[in-house]
């Protein structure tokens, strides 16, 4: 019997794995997708090769490219942007690591306290969360982002639009700032040359400003795996978890099995407050079809907002209050683009190093984009085709013309010089709503059972969600205008299912949450959740990964205390950074 089995090696699972491996527990991590052990020999910087949701290396699908991606059913228009494999969706994330808005935590007393989703707050205080943020930020590590052409343009525009800089990690007022990124900042030749002969490690260290965050980070060339620039979990937490015995006295390296799709959580009925007790898991080898099972004292679900409800339902686990899979949030993402008559670095540098935060509304961030992705972004809309039809939505405002999809000659004109574009992603502080849900399809099934079905209807979001989204799009357009944009387009995206949160939410009320205040399932003893789905809300808009990782650190402590009689450590110890020399040596010694 294992001490702990963790299902999923995405943004959250490896955090629990590393923390508990450091405590010496026997941990098994099962990942449905690939383990990309040799990125420099397998990956490229090319969009379709890496990012195609159907055939790309970074897709939600099996490692074998000849096999189709894993399908999910969508009830309403939208698209998925998630990744299976060790690293999960952090394999293509931008490393943005802001903390959540303090207003979404219990006990918040700020003057703007009426601005948030107050029915679905964190069941503990921001002060309590802060120490887990600090631990996680030091482990990854999170660093203040450097400035390139597009960041300089964005900061100047934000100042011109009347915003002031935010100078701390806690978001206390509306303003702009460099991103706090889980990216090692440029060192040596990095960021100072495009000559590939000068960009090998250790001549170049940290981010080389290649502009390919979305294609996965394998640079600098020749760097040990834990010293690759971006701190996706395949570069940070997972190397630490796999070598915990080498860098921590009393630590125990985890066992990682990839291509292992968990199809069932095993459980026994029991008397007491919780209806069942988790006893282990059953998984299917994606390559051979063989079915395996193992028992464990604790099971941690970390398969993500879509797969967790599916697995729960396919395992016939109890759902006494009807909230399993409910309350899904997605930041109601939107896209606003300005066209300039001069170079604003639209395709250069780190993918996202500047942002503005608006407590009570959400956030916006400036992004660099490769051409296929940008064309894809400009052609996504819930408001028809600009100049042709609006699908009854559209909407005019601080941007030019109706919101909508850019198409035909307008698309070609806007795409005629990608470095003259500045694009801003809108991250809405969206409400937890019961009707937005994940359950299982009644039509589609694959080798692992009925597939997940997702229903998040953008047109029927709450009034506050829609207000916040419009407010942020307006602020984005104002910043672009202040920067001197000659033309500004708002897309009004159909849902892009990338920032997903809260489908298995924790909460302070047994009436509207799946997890208790420790992220343990209210209905199943010994079953915890440690990914975005455990978040109680959409964090007020900030990118979710850091908060999920901080919460997962807290959850690891709770597991260690409740089931293994251990003591908490975050207040008592100093974290070991994932780029510490002892970790690097361990990674090299183990041949990772």
């Amino acid at each position: 019997m294992r001490d702990v089995i963790i299902i999923g090696a995405g943004g959250g699972g490896p955090v629990v794995a590393k923390e508990l491996a450091e405590r010496g527990l026997d941990v098994l991590v099962l990942e449905a997708g690939a383990r990309h052990a040799n990125p420099e020999q397998e990956w490229s910087a090319l969009e379709n090769h890496m990012n195609s949701s159907l055939t790309g290396k970074l897709r939600f699908g099996p490692a074998d490219p000849a096999k189709p991606a894993w399908f999910r059913e969508l009830v309403t228009p939208g698209s998925f942007s998630q990744v299976a494999g060790v690293g999960g969706t952090t394999l293509h994330y931008y490393g943005n690591s802001p903390r959540a808005m303090p207003g979404v935590f219990a006990g918040y007393r700020g003057q703007d306290r009426g601005m948030y989703d107050n029915r679905h707050k964190f069941p503990f205080s921001y002060d309590e969360m802060r120490r887990y943020y600090e631990w996680t930020e030091a482990t990854l590590p999170v660093q203040t982002a450097a400035m390139g052409t597009k960041e300089q343009a964005f900061f100047q525009a934000a100042e011109a639009a009347g915003l002031s800089p935010i100078t701390g990690k806690d978001i206390s007022h509306a303003g702009f700032r460099p991103q706090e990124n889980a990216i090692l900042q440029p060192g040596g030749n990095a960021g100072r040359t495009s000559d590939p002969s000068q960009l090998n490690y250790p001549d170049a260290r940290g981010c080389t400003l290649c502009g390919h965050c979305f294609q996965g980070c394998m640079l600098p060339k020749g760097a040990p795996r834990n010293l690759k620039a971006r701190r996706s979990t395949d570069n940070s937490y997972m190397p630490m978890a796999l070598t915990a015995d080498l860098w921590k006295s009393g630590g125990k390296a985890i066992t990682l099995i990839s291509d292992a799709y968990v199809t069932r959580i095993l459980s026994d009925r029991q008397w007491g407050r919780r209806l069942q007790k988790a006893t282990g898991v059953e998984w299917r080898d994606v390559n051979t079809g063989e079915v395996h099972s193992e028992d464990a004292r604790v099971v941690v679900m970390a398969g993500g907002c879509i797969e967790n409800p599916r697995l729960w339902m396919n395992s016939d686990l109890p759902d006494p209050n009807g909230w399993v899979g409910r309350g899904l949030t997605d930041h109601a993402l939107d896209w606003v683009t300005g066209i300039f008559d001069h170079d604003v670095g639209g395709a250069r540098g780190t993918s996202c190093s500047s942002r503005a935060d608006f407590p009570g509304y959400g956030a916006i961030q400036n992004t660099a984009n490769t051409p296929g992705v940008q064309a894809n972004n400009l052609t996504n809309s819930d408001s028809g085709i600009r100049g042709a039809y609006t699908s009854g939505v559209g909407g005019q405002g601080a941007w030019d013309g109706d919101a909508g999809r850019v198409y035909g000659t307008e698309l070609k004109e806007m795409m005629s010089d990608i470095n003259r574009q500045m694009s801003i992603l809108v991250l809405t502080d969206d409400d937890v709503e019961y009707r937005n849900k994940v359950d299982v399809s009644r039509v589609f099934r694959d080798d692992h059972g009925p597939v997940a079905r997702v229903d998040i209807d953008k047109r029927r979001r709450s009034r506050r969600t829609r207000r916040n989204r419009d407010y942020l799009a307006t602020r984005a357009a104002e910043i672009l205008r202040a920067a001197g944009a000659k033309k500004i387009v708002r897309n009004d995206w159909a849902p892009v299912l990338l920032h997903l949160q809260s489908s298995m939410r924790m909460g302070d009320s047994a009436r509207n949450s799946v997890l208790d205040e420790n992220c343990e399932a209210r209905a199943v003893q010994g079953l915890f959740i440690a990914d975005n789905s455990a978040l109680p809300n959409s964090l007020g808009g900030p990118n979710p990964t850091l908060s999920t990782q901080a919460l997962a650190t807290r959850t690891a402590e709770k597991i260690f205390q409740q089931y293994f009689g251990g003591d908490p450590w975050v207040d008592r110890e100093s974290p070991i950074c994932s780029i510490d020399d002892v970790v690097t040596q361990a990674v090299i010694d183990r041949g990772l």
Binding site: H49, L199, Y389, K412, V443
Partner: protein, 317 residues
Amino acid sequence: MSETKPTNSSISSGRRQLLIGSGVLGAAAAVNPGMAFAHWGRGRGKGRWGRDHSQENVEPVEWTVEQLRTALDRLRDDTFFAMIAFGVPGDDPYSEYQGVSTPYPGGITTRADLYLSGGTDLLVPMPTEYMHQLLASVATYLAIQPMDIPGMAAEDVGENGEYLLENLNSSFTDYLEGEASNSVLVALLINLAATRVAGSIDGPFPSPFANLSWEQKAKVFEELESESSWLKRAITWNIPDRDYREATPGVLSSMVAFMLRIAGFGSYCEFAVFNPETREVAQRPLGWVLSQYAPDAPPSGIGSDDFIGYYQGRRSV
């Protein structure tokens, strides 16, 4: 909307409209004119299905499934060329015919149509039975709410014509029983919507959609994206299986949204010139040329000299 005329055909009027309006008959005829209605032809100047006396003496021949598959694949290709020209127009015949073109290449030159076709096939794992019920529902709907296609679907086409239409219908049914592809299904639905929007469509291409102006194409997608879409209603309303019926609007929306987005992504990514052996582009992709991206590629860059410094010199907060 026209009223349904009585017919002695064993094929329902809805099924006839489906075969004709979605472009199946036209595509089959285009592949092998000798197999078309002996006394029917097509082409500009005589109406899309105008009589062609030069073929009156052609003996009727049965369509095989494989011949029909070839015809439908070509129809799909034709439709997708037109789709790409709609999204990213260029200097190709499809762009020129739609009335919106540019003096330099567009998405068709990048072969984004192939990307679209391959992607659509992979997008949704449609069960065969589901596809059957879906098309049957459309046919039933068309029988009750026929499209406004003058003198086509219900016209007396003579014994020879009936024989050929029945043969085509039979082959089409057999085709659906086999390895029918999503991309063909999507092409048929887009063409059906095109016919619905524009009525009888005259033009040089087998695909009704390809013969539309850019503005008419936009109207087709306005229809397809509408919450009260005629096509969604037609597909959904008579599917006997409740689960299939409930899933259909979402599946259709996914496919339509994918079509619209991938015209952009496929045109600007490296798909057409990717070398899997080197994991590098064989030459600079046209989409990169059009967007002035990575002027020194290949190879793809692994860094830039874009580092300016830190905002206000702040290295940490």
